[in-house]
């Protein structure tokens, strides 16, 4: 199996996992929040109070999405750049 085939299969598998999850659990909330882990701790230890709070929090879900997207985008850009660089270098040889 060539790498190309292998890669396509891998991408396919990843998409499949995500799609199937969303398909089989249409009513799940898919909350990502760390919030309910906090809830769990406060349930079992009602006296515990976090003693430090975040220096800064994104003012809204939208801004949070922006920052996550930026993080993913910049990271992907660098990954693609490096792969492309080596691909080009190989061709030039």
């Amino acid at each position: 199996m060539t790498n190309k085939t292998s890669n396509l299969l891998l991408i396919g598998a990843i998409i499949l996992i995500v799609v199937l999850t969303l398909y089989f659990f249409p009513n799940a909330e898919f909350m990502g929040a760390d919030g309910l882990a906090e809830d769990y701790i406060t349930e079992s230890q009602p006296d515990y109070k976090p003693w430090f709070s975040n220096i800064w929090e994104p003012p809204s879900g939208e801004i949070e999405s922006l920052l996550f997207s930026l993080q993913a985008a910049i990271g992907t850009g660098i990954v693609a750049y490096v792969i492309g660089y080596y691909k080009g270098k190989k061709k030039a040889v």
Binding site: A33, A37, S44, W51, F52, W56, A72, G75
Partner: protein, 240 residues
């Protein structure tokens, strides 16, 4: 009543935290403890990177790639079978390319970004989170791959397993850290540990699988084009 709550907690699809302990959720003692434990690991990692860049400056680009990969994966909120979302870590790739020590620094970079800009994880929990994600995870990834390699396993399968186990090891470590800090009031640390593991375990499995698949994907792309002299990659290509 407590047992009922626990049962409900285990059975209901509770949103998982993405393996990072939230700001302020480690009592001061534990916060200090993990920070102190982690510091030498960080310093060692820092020295290793310096040494690496001096000896093999051509690795700079790959290092950037490993860092960027960790950045991307940490930003992906993936839905999971437990009905919640979680993030992969992305440190597996770097751990395989460079060894676990280097990741101790890179992981901290990713964590800092997420703490300062996304209120994800915390400064007081940085040591603990780094220990699980930037040390334990990479170490297990590295160990499992070395083992699988010795057993003659197909390289791609070995990578997948190594990254999968590393991801799970990270979250198990985090569960342990939380259990030490928040032992069950009646039954102590062990019970709390099992509770955390069982609550968050199911969520992590598909995430770890996806991370494994993504890592193999990127390694495939790299091994096609990056010159053979990069040790890990040349080995990877030889017997895939």
């Amino acid at each position: 009543m407590k047992k009922l709550l626990v049962l409900l907690a285990i059975l209901s699809p509770i949103p998982a935290f993405s393996m990072h302990i939230m700001e302020g959720f480690l009592p001061a003692f534990w916060s200090m403890f993990w920070s102190v434990v982690y510091l030498p690991i960080f310093i060692l990692g820092f020295r290793k990177i310096k040494q690496l860049l001096v000896e093999k400056p051509e690795l700079k680009l790959l290092l950037a790639l490993a860092t960027a990969f960790a950045f991307v994966l940490s930003a992906l909120k993936l839905p999971s079978v437990s009905g919640s979302c979680s993030h992969p870590t992305g440190v597996g790739l770097g751990a395989l390319l460079f060894g676990p020590w280097v990741m101790s620094v890179i992981g901290v970079l990713v964590l800092l970004f997420q703490v300062l800009l996304l209120a994800h994880g915390g400064i007081t929990t940085l040591g603990a989170n780094a220990f699980s994600m930037a040390f334990i995870g990479p170490v297990f990834t590295w160990l499992i791959f070395s083992l699988a390699n010795k057993l003659g396993m197909n390289k791609k399968v070995a990578v997948f397993l190594a990254v999968f186990v590393g991801n799970m090891a990270t979250y198990i470590c985090t569960s342990a850290q939380l259990a030490f800090a928040h032992p069950d009031v009646i039954n102590g640390v062990t019970t709390a540990f099992y509770k955390f593991v069982s609550i968050f375990g199911l969520t992590q499995i598909p995430i770890a699988i996806i991370e494994g698949l993504l890592t193999v994907l990127v390694l495939n792309l790299l091994s096609d084009h990056v010159p053979m002299r990069f040790d890990f990659l040349s080995q990877y290509k030889k017997r895939s």
